[in-house]
Point group: C2
Chain length 147, copies 2
DNA sequence: TAAATAAAAGATATTTAGGTCTTTTATTCT
DNA sequence: AGAATAAAAGACCTAAATATCTTTTATTTA
């Protein structure tokens, strides 16, 4: 559903939001190492997010990536929009051009429930919400299950 | 969510099930023309479905594709399984390996609702159900909206 | 049984997503 | 100002999905 680029984006933003501050920015290498992602590929992804002001960055010594307060309140849909676009949430489940709300395909009404549900979920959920969950013990990088 | 191959598969099965009979089979060219799909690409897809006995085919003069009664009752999930696999319905929404039911990622519980919903939808819905809908006037190839 | 037909199978090409490497630019610190 | 640092940008490479073309096999009919 979401491309690799997109889940890499979500994971790295959450990681940056959780661990970086303006005083202590995170370098691309650090992030890629921790999340086990290809450095240069992630670099491209973060570039795009910086351009859209979803992630903040500073070049040079002690530079790196961080999130300002506003960025932490970014909803997941905005990130998906930047990386993958919103085609999934608008296109017909059977890929039919002739399918619409007024002239729905045989799958439309049923499919729409979940497609719209995901749209709602991604537009409600913010980066800060995910960070809160991680702090509460949910699975993430290095948040290993406690038995 | 579903690959092009997969929606092509679904659309062509529905079309075959709707228009072909054992007496009057449909040739690959006819199908591809009607559904506006690349002939040889569709051919490959139908081959796989024939191998899995989801579509029936006969070679030679008056040969072509059709669906037997059992095939018409195939659920959509079986088709998705053959073409795309079921990874979408089992994998974590954030692509995390460490995410599980007992140690869920920050998105898991919310995402699961829709992912499982789609799984249920696709396992309930049969080809015959879609054909019934088309006969009732739902959007499909050549089923143009009536104003 | 030979010719015609149509799917199956194989080989190859194109496009897109994913990934790597190198050079440039901005910033900091000495 | 010059060296060091780290992101940005650009060029390039690889693998997978999508698409096309050609040959083979099975079937029918004359």
């Amino acid at each position: 559903m979401l491309s690799k680029s997109c889940v890499y984006a979500l994971r790295s933003i959450v990681y940056i939001g959780h661990h970086a501050t303006v005083e202590h920015k995170l370098g691309i290498k650090e992030i890629a190492d921790e999340l086990d992602l290809p450095v240069h590929f992630l670099s491209k992804i973060l570039q795009r997010l910086v351009k859209h002001n979803i992630v903040q960055s500073v070049k040079g010594p002690h530079g790196g990536f961080f999130l300002n307060d506003k960025s932490k309140e970014t909803n997941l849909l905005s990130i998906i929009d930047v990386i993958d676009g919103l085609a999934f949430f608008t296109n017909c489940g059977l890929g039919l051009k002739e399918c619409s709300e007024t002239h729905p395909c045989p799958l439309h009404d049923d499919f729409k429930i979940y497609r719209d549900g995901l749209y709602f979920l991604f537009s409600e959920k913010k980066i800060s919400d995910l960070i809160t969950k991680i702090e509460a013990g949910n699975a993430f990088i290095r948040n290993l299950p406690q038995y």
